[in-house]
Symmetry: C2
Amino acid sequence: MSWKAIGIFDSGVGGLTVLKEIIKSLPQEDTLYLGDTARVPYGTKSPETVTRYAMEITTFLVNRDIKLLIAACNTVSAVSLEALKQRFSLPIVGVIEPGARRAASVTKTGKVGVIGTEGTIRSSAYTKAIKRINPEIEVITRACPLFVPLAEEGWIDNDVARLTAEIYLRGLKNDGVDTLVLGCTHYPILRETIATTMGEGVQLVDSAEETARTVAEILRNSCMIRPPAERGNHHYFVTDVPAGFLKVGNRFLGETLHDVHQVVLEKEGCVAQ
Amino acid sequence: MSWKAIGIFDSGVGGLTVLKEIIKSLPQEDTLYLGDTARVPYGTKSPETVTRYAMEITTFLVNRDIKLLIAACNTVSAVSLEALKQRFSLPIVGVIEPGARRAASVTKTGKVGVIGTEGTIRSSAYTKAIKRINPEIEVITRACPLFVPLAEEGWIDNDVARLTAEIYLRGLKNDGVDTLVLGCTHYPILRETIATTMGEGVQLVDSAEETARTVAEILRNSCMIRPPAERGNHHYFVTDVPAGFLKVGNRFLGETLHDVHQVVLEKEGCVAQ
């Protein structure tokens, strides 16, 4: 058993949807969440820059003695996960593999759609992960860069949101996918509009639940899980001032956030391994 | 006379619209441009974080021996200009004052609209600057967070752009402004759609030309201007890989960009003053 916390990070608030599932399935665990709100978004930036940021954040969390790390950001999971695993020796879980596994098990027609940021889609990480599970599945992808700013503006079901979804999803719909992976932690906020646009018979998959299941399995198998009677504490770090994170975060997490601290990652120095 | 270059910076590519005017009116001057593409956008971030970034960039450019600095980013000009002026001893020009001056001289009805990022609008910098020139002018402001991602997605005159403009600008139109300040360097890209939405009789003001005029005046008055027969060189620095900057930058500058280098600001250290 390990009393250490689970570390979890994202470019901003989106990863709180993953944290929410972690807290639901592992309420006994402590968690440390870091949102890189001073440099958000990652989805439009290069793999090199995203990996540099992910390294800094992981160094920060590892220095605070975590037992497992979740990259709750799809872009990081898509472009930086291997680099993180090579550099750090703790278990590291991304959101792509769990999402791919779920999509592969859900599809009946063998046609899966994936939407995400430019960085995630350009990496082909979902396509590769799904095809590793079942090479017969056809994967059709589409970057939807405006979904993140729409979710942050709170325009989740007005005419602009609907029209944007119509333009982005038209091709996927015409291609007849029966499963659509929401490959960005912001997209569940637009779930209703995306579901309506895709129409009945298309199942939406988000990675949060499946990621939580994967984490529980790893902790159990490696005997690092805490006794179920415990109740974990949750701490939050952000790189910009906490105000904006608190405002949007409560909506994402579904409960009130406490204990949010601002940190400067660049001052963190080297990892103590 | 000073042979030193003019430094100019922005959160990303938007400031190239200002650089374009500088090159047009002062073709004899060397310029150093820095786009903080690894941390863009600034408009959604806190004044503290934006000021920290602006300090790092100014340190970088001052270390490369510039004679004058242009903060070509409206958000920086709105929230960080005083802090920069207090810390650094060279002439520093923002884009708010020139834009405000132009708006105040153009309006006939005395009703001026200002659109910009959340950071710029929240600061009330344009309102204060316009009222300093003429306290009688009524200034009506509106943050338009989706205009930047729309411009970057290249959706500048489709239905989504028009509908978004309609929602953001409805209030300003109903209030009867006769002048609208495009208070973000990205917005000139959406000029047509904004103009059509506002209708005839509303004059759009962007700060680029007026900023170039201010810079020429300062260089002339302080005897730092180069002989007009010279032809300047232009160097570019970015914080993310150059590819994305080159792609969008050519459109913003209106000519092909050369000599773009990636730099890491955090490694820059202290300013040599």
